[in-house]
Amino acid sequence: MNWNGIAAIWRFEMARFFRSIIQSIVSPVLSTSLYFVVFGAAIGSRIPEVEGVSYGAFIVPGLIMLTVLQQAIQNAGFGIYFPKFIGTIFEVLSAPLSAFEIVIGYVGAAAVKALLIGCIILGTSFFFVDITIQHPVWMIAFLLLTSISFALLGFILGIWARNFEQLNLVPLLVVTPLVFLGGSFYSITMLPPIWQTISMFNPVLYLVSGFRWSFFGMADVPVAASLAAILLFTALCLGVVWWMFRTGYRLKS
C-alpha cells in the first residue's frame, strides 16, 4: 500500500476544505437553521408530534442526512472533477497508486468533510430542539456509511461528468428529490398507501429511517433493511469505480 500517496491526496483535499472553511461551515449551518425555522417552527406548530417525538426533533436526522448527502457528493465530485478539468489528474494517474488507493484518498477526504459538517449540524440543532440519541454508536455508523457511500457516488459523477453542468445535474435532479421524498421531513406512515409503496423504492428512505432509528428508536423500515440497503449501495458504487479504473473510463485514453 502506498500510504504516503493516500495521505498526500487526503491532506491536499482537506486543505481545500479548510481554505474555504467559512463557506464550508457557514452555508450548511445557515440553511439548517432556516429549515428549523421554516419546518420546525412554522409547520411544526401544526404537527405537534410524530410518534411521540416533537416535530422539530423529528426532522433533525433527515436534515443531517440531507446535508451530509449533498456535501459528500459535492466534495467528492468536485475533488476528482477539478483535477480532471484542469489537467492535474495526470500526476495521480502516473503515480504508483492503485485505483483503490486513489479512491481511499479522495473519497476518504470527502467523507470526512461530510461527516464533520453532519456533526456541526447536529450541534446546531441542539440550539433549537431537545434531542437524546438512543443509539449513538449506530448513529455514528450510519453517518459514516452514508458519507462514504455517497462520496463514492460523487466520485463516480466526478469522473463521468464532462462539464460543470453535468456535475451539478445529478445531485440537483436526482438526489435532492429523493431526499425530500425519502421521509426526511415526515414519516411515510403519514402518506396515502400508494405513496407508501412507491417510497419503498427510494433508497434514501432506508438511510433516513435507519438514521432516525438511532436517534429515537423508531423507523419506517426495519433497521436491518436500512443497513442492508446502505451496504448494497456502497458495494454497487465500489463496483462501478472498480470498472471505471479498469477500463480507464474517461480518465485514460
Partner: protein
C-alpha cells in the same frame, strides 16, 4: 551501459482509430540525455505518456528499471518523474504544498528540507508560500519541474520543457539538466528546438508520423548525415561555370565570385581533391576556401521532409 527504459514494438491506436505510435522500439541508457525531436503531432507526447502509464498501450512492452510498466507498475512508476507539456497546476494551491503533494503521491516520506532544496535549485524558494496563480508562466513551468523532481526520480521525462521560456531560463534549465545528469538521473526530453538537442543531448531520436526514424549519438548523427559546404572564392569572377567543371555538382554564387560545393562529411571520397585540381586545370585562381558544417537543424529538416527516413 544498461538500458533503464526499454520500449519494444510499441503501438498506440487512439479510440478514434488514429495510429499515434507505430512499432516503436527504443532502449534508453542509464544516465544519458536523450532528445526526442519531431514535428507537431509526431507522437512524442504519446510515447512519453505511454511509458509513464497515463496512456494505455495498444500492444508492445515497456520496462523501466527492469520493471514492466503494466505488470510491475508500482516499482516502475516510482522511478519516473514527468514534466508534462501543458502547464496544469491547481491555481489556488501554494507552491510548497503542490510540491509536497507530488512527493507523497510517489510514496516518499514527507521531507520538507528536500523539497526546499528542490525549490532553491529552481529559484522558486522565495515563492514557496505564494499561490500558483500568482506566478509567471516561466515560474509555473519550474514548479512543474520541481513537482517531477520532488520524489527523487531516476528517470526524468521533460516534455518540451523550454517551450515559451526566455533565453536565460532556458540556459538555467540546461544547467539543471546537467546537474541532474551528474547525479545519475536519466533524462528524456522532447523539443522542437534543434539547438537544444544539440546543446545538451547525448543521443537524438527523431520521430515522425508515429515512427521512430532513428536514434543515434548526436555526434555520429551529425557526421553521418552532416553535410559540409565548401565555398571556393575566386580571385577573378566568372560569368558562367567553365565547361571543364561541368562534371561536378557545383553552383555559382550570385555575385559570380565563388563556387559552392556540397559534400557529405562522412564519405570516404569527398571529391574535393579532384575538384581543386580541376579548377586549377581550368585556369582559375583561388582567393580563399571556406567550409561550413551543417547543424542538426539542417539534418532534421532534411530527415522529416524526405519521404523515406533512413533506417537507424
Amino acid at each position: 551501459m544498461s538500458a533503464i527504459v526499454q520500449v519494444n514494438g510499441l503501438n498506440k491506436t487512439y479510440d478514434g482509430g488514429f495510429e499515434a505510435l507505430k512499432n516503436v522500439s527504443l532502449d534508453i541508457r542509464e544516465g544519458e540525455i536523450l532528445a526526442l525531436l519531431g514535428p507537431n503531432g509526431a507522437g512524442k507526447t504519446t510515447l512519453i505518456s505511454t511509458i509513464c502509464g497515463i496512456t494505455q498501450p495498444t500492444s508492445g512492452a515497456i520496462t523501466v528499471g527492469g520493471h514492466d510498466v503494466i505488470d510491475d507498475w508500482r516499482a516502475a512508476r516510482k522511478l519516473i518523474g514527468l514534466v508534462p507539456q501543458e502547464i496544469n497546476l491547481e491555481p489556488f494551491e501554494l507552491v510548497a504544498n503542490t510540491v509536497r503533494f507530488s512527493r507523497g503521491l510517489f510514496d516518499r516520506q514527507r521531507n520538507d528540507a528536500f523539497v526546499d532544496q528542490v525549490l532553491k535549485d529552481l529559484s522558486l524558494f522565495e515563492k514557496k508560500d505564494n499561490r500558483i496563480a500568482e506566478l509567471s508562466g516561466g515560474m509555473k513551468r519550474r514548479v512543474l519541474i520541481a513537482k517531477a523532481l520532488a520524489h527523487e526520480p531516476r528517470v526524468l521525462f521533460l516534455d518540451e520543457p523550454t517551450a515559451g521560456v526566455d533565453v536565460e531560463l532556458r540556459r538555467d534549465m540546461w544547467a539543471l539538466v546537467e546537474r541532474l545528469r551528474a547525479d545519475g538521473v536519466t533524462i528524456i526530453l522532447t523539443t522542437h528546438y534543434i539547438e537544444e538537442a544539440e546543446a545538451i543531448a547525448d543521443r537524438v531520436g527523431v520521430i515522425r508520423g508515429g515512427e521512430l526514424l532513428l536514434v543515434e549519438d548526436k555526434a555520429r548523427l551529425m557526421s553521418r548525415l552532416g553535410q559540409k559546404e565548401l565555398r571556393i572564392e575566386l580571385r577573378d569572377g566568372v560569368e558562367a561555370l567553365p565547361d571543364a567543371l561541368a562534371g561536378f555538382d557545383l553552383t555559382l554564387s550570385d555575385d559570380k565570385r565563388s563556387l559552392l560545393y556540397t559534400y557529405k562529411t562522412g564519405e570516404e571520397r569527398t571529391g574535393i581533391t579532384r575538384l581543386l585540381s580541376a579548377i586549377q586545370d581550368a585556369g582559375l585562381t583561388l582567393a580563399d576556401l571556406q567550409t561550413r558544417e551543417s547543424s542538426l537543424e539542417d539534418i532534421f529538416v532534411g530527415l522529416v521532409h524526405t519521404e523515406e527516413g533512413e533506417p537507424s
